[in-house]
Structures are given as C-alpha cells and as structure tokens.
Symmetry: C2
Subunit: 331 residues, 2 copies
Amino acid sequence: MPQPTYDVVAIGNAIVDVLAHADDAFLVRHGCAKGAMTLVDANRAEALYGAMGPGAEISGGSAANTVAGLASLGGKAAFIGKVRDDQLGEVYRHDLRAAGVAFETPAASSGPATGRCFILVTPDAQRTMNTFLGAAVELNPEDVDEELISRSKVTYLEGYLWDRPEAKEAFRKAAAAAHDAGAKVAFTLSDRFCVERWRAEFLDLIQNHVNILFANESEILALYQVKTFEEALPRVRGHVEVAALTRSEKGSVVVKGKEVVKVPAEPIAKVIDTTGAGDLYAAGFLSGYVQGRPMDECGRRGAIAAAEIISHFGARPETSLQKLVAEKLKA
Amino acid sequence: MPQPTYDVVAIGNAIVDVLAHADDAFLVRHGCAKGAMTLVDANRAEALYGAMGPGAEISGGSAANTVAGLASLGGKAAFIGKVRDDQLGEVYRHDLRAAGVAFETPAASSGPATGRCFILVTPDAQRTMNTFLGAAVELNPEDVDEELISRSKVTYLEGYLWDRPEAKEAFRKAAAAAHDAGAKVAFTLSDRFCVERWRAEFLDLIQNHVNILFANESEILALYQVKTFEEALPRVRGHVEVAALTRSEKGSVVVKGKEVVKVPAEPIAKVIDTTGAGDLYAAGFLSGYVQGRPMDECGRRGAIAAAEIISHFGARPETSLQKLVAEKLKA
C-alpha cells in the first residue's frame, strides 16, 4: 500500500441544516419524533418549513460533519456526497472546502434541489431532525472514487445512506475498495429508527465489512435487541475490531478485543444544541485512531470534540479543534 | 387618519448574511475596512467568499433586522425590500415572515441573485461587512406601497438605501407618503462611510423629512463634522424631533427638544458578535416610541434588545424580546 493521502474519506448524505428553535408543543403539533431523524418528502418539508421559525442555514450531513471535524483536528479528509448545482449546493461545497475537506463529487445538474434537514432545537438543547434528502438521493456507485478510497486510511460510512438502493450499492463498493487497499472501514449506526429499519442488513454489514463501529446507547441496544448496555458489549466485541459507544453525559465506552475503556464526558458550561455530538465524537476518535494513539486518548479526543459542538448552534466546529484538544490533553 | 395597521414599516436592502469567524490578519490580507460596511461587486464577492471560512447563512439587512426585532417585541411590523426568486430569496422571505413581519414585495424574476453580506467576525466580536447587493438593487419606487405606509405609525428607512438612484426615489416617495398620512419618518445613518459619501444629502433629508433619527457616535460625528459627541447634541436637536444616539458600551443618549436622557448599556456576560446591535437598539426604542412610552424607557428597551443580539451570532433575535424586556423592566 502506498503512503495514504487522506486519513479519512467519508461517504454520506450532503445536507444543509436549517436550524431553528422550537418548543415541545411544536413537535407534538407537527407529529415530529423527538430526538430522531425522520425522512420527509417535498410536501412535508414545505409544510414544516412554513410552520417553523426563522432558521440558520449551516452545512451539515452526519459523515460530512465528521470529516469537517477531522480536518479541524489537523487530519487530512475527503468527502463523497451529492448536492445540486444550486445556491445551497454552492454554499455546501464552499463550507466543506473552507473547512479543509477535499470534495470533488460533481453536483447533479437536474433533479431535486440540494438536500435540507429541518432541525428543531427544543429548550432542553435536544435536536429533532426532519430530512428532505433532495439531490442526496442521486448519489450512486459511480460517484464512489475507488482510487480516492485506496489512498485513505479509513473509509467512513453513515447508516443514513442505507435508506436507498443506489446508496447501498455505493456503500458496498466503497467498503470493498477499502478492504482491497488494506484500509479500514468505519461505520456509524446513525439513528435508532434507522437501525430498526435495517437491523438484519446492518448486522451483516458489521460482521462482514466493518472494522470500526460508532453507535450511541439506544442504537446499540436496538441493534442487538438487548435491554442493557452491558449486554451489548460482549455482542459487539465479536463483531468488529473496535467499537466506540457513546452514552451522552455518561461518556463513552471503547471496546477493542478484550480491552474495555471507559471515557468520561467532557464537562461543559451549558449545552446549547446537541446536533452533531455523535458526528464530532467520531471525528475526535478517528483523529487519534489514524495516529495510532491508545484507545483512552481516542475516546478523550472524541469527548472533547463533542463538547465543543454541543456548546453552540450547528454541527460544524467554530474553533480549531486541534488547538482545543492539545490544550485539554495537556491539562 | 384611520387606525394604523402597523407600528413600523421598514424599507431596506434585503440581504442574507453569511457569517464567518476571521482573524485581523485576514481583514488586512483582503483589504477589508474593519468595522465598516463596504459594497462589493460580484467578482470581489466571489473572491472573498472563496477565501473565507465556513459560513452560517442567517437572514439580515439592517432595516429588516429592526422590524424582525420589533415583531419579537410584540409590535406589528412590515418590510419592503427586494430579493430574487431563488433559494436564498425564499429563505429570506420565510425567515422574515416566520419572525412575524409582513413582507409582500414581489421577488425579482431576472437579474442578480438575492443579496448577500459576507460578515467577518473577529475575535474581539467586531463585525466587518462586505455587501453584494444583488437583487436588492432592483428595489424601485413602484415597490413602495403607499397604502401600506399610510397604515403605519412609523416608516423606517436605512441610510444604506442611499447608494442607488432608484432607491433614493423610493425613499423619497415613502417619506412623502408617510407625511401625507400624518405618520412619522425614522431614519438610521447606517454607517460612517455611508454618511461621508452622502453627507450633504443626508443633512437635507434630516432637516426636511426625518422625525426620528438613529445614529451611533462615529456616524453623528461624521454627519456634523465635529470632534466630540457633546458638540453634536445641539446640532441634532434643531434638526429632528427625536434623536437616539448609541455609544456602544457607553450606552445611549436620547435628545428630544430640550430633553437629554442618558441610558446605560445593558450588562452582558460575553459579547459574541456585534452584528445588528444598532438595528436592534432601534427596534427596542421604536417598540416604546409607538406606545408613547417616556424616552428613558424607549432607550432602555433599545439597550436590552441590543444586548440580546450581541450575545450570539447573527442579527435576528433568538428569544422573545417582549418577554425579555418585560422581565428586565420589572427588575
């Protein structure tokens, strides 16, 4: 294997977040599943947007947030995903490149507009997501640049991709290319409902294609259909090389073979918006992983990056995570 | 005069803000005038955007921020301004209407895209603005709905409009319609460089058409070409019924006939981004003015609204200002 050019290449839905404050009554009134990611069609998207308050447009997308975070941590990152050749698509490309991420997937020149995720942030700082995939549905196997993947240490895939057949095909092609190049495949379960929709296929993927797994507590319980976190640990141990499992304010647990490392959550003055917490945990974790750091440091990096992202609106870092992590690790 | 439908109708440039962090070296490298609003053409806009970091798109525009603030304060507000029929134009209309502001000016169906302001926020929380007017240049006298103006207690105009002949005509038409209806005309000087460009015309406007003037210290000094704030006070007293003059952390001074009221700035834990401070001061002030409140309360309302806006990114309120003001005035 020649020297890799990138630490991580991520493949995911390219989505512009539209963040707005809302109260719990709004979620009830509009039938939104609190804390979850729900796919919405164009009509539902329009109705929700019409009803919600003023928004802030900030580029997002789960896997893209992770590589934006990795770049802020000093890593070399690339992204594969689909926007349209419209204003929001240009904004999206600008933001990712300005974050230091290589992003060359051509924009769609027809079909639906660049995807948007209407994110309602309730007073408890929880986020509820309603995603109109838009042009992201146009991602197909041809967009997966095998040469790019072969030049990357880790190929990172989001569970959200699994909702569409062409994206599944793209996913499988990417995983195969990574393994052929002797590189690692990382996977995030993304969302509990996503796990419930695709449980059998996810289990197959994890056992046969995934080296590094990211999940939060409710996702891993849903995957193994168990009631307690402790029951999930031995199950996941046999399935992947490394599992990094997040538990919100309880911190995270890293399982690597027989090793089980508990990492505390990073203290934070005030949680403003939890959007991107898992994405940035993965960014921090991978920034250590690609440098061969020990698991406790990888987890700590994840915790620090996640703490930064939940201290403000939006899922992209607002400060140099590299500097932040260096300070915190020294302290 | 029949019972007015609106407290304030504002006329201004409809602009989507693109907010990004930058350091002072970036401003120097790209020749940006720190703290000022500079008009940029399409080429310069593209070059700046290409060089700047990831942005957050938040609807803005000075006068529009003021009416969005007024609506949050419980007032009835309308806006006249020009977007294009593109994605950002739709975002802009959504955000203003979602804030509770009536906005019926038809979008341009040809010509430049919806205007954007590239706002660079430096670590000292100061904002430096580079505005590509885009579709805002299409605002013309026909867009000024005289009937709407006649139904509003106050017509609020921004100095930024004065950079284009058609907008000047629109401005004059609006002022005349307001006076014909027995309503008040409010005017903000907007920016020191804007005052310097149009000093003679601004003086004429203020003496002959304006009832309520808003300005910050550097703007009022530039208008009267005086060296100290104290020298400006007697000058402005003879020119308008009410002048509300802001001095950043030194608070504000309201001049109404012989009355001179000093209002302290509202204490704030941490200034994050000064974008919109003047716009929201005007919103708070006018929310008291249209209810016939005394000048000290009008100024206090302005200070409270300005303090909220500088405590976060973007120039639109993130909480109910009506509730906030009620709490603060009671305390």
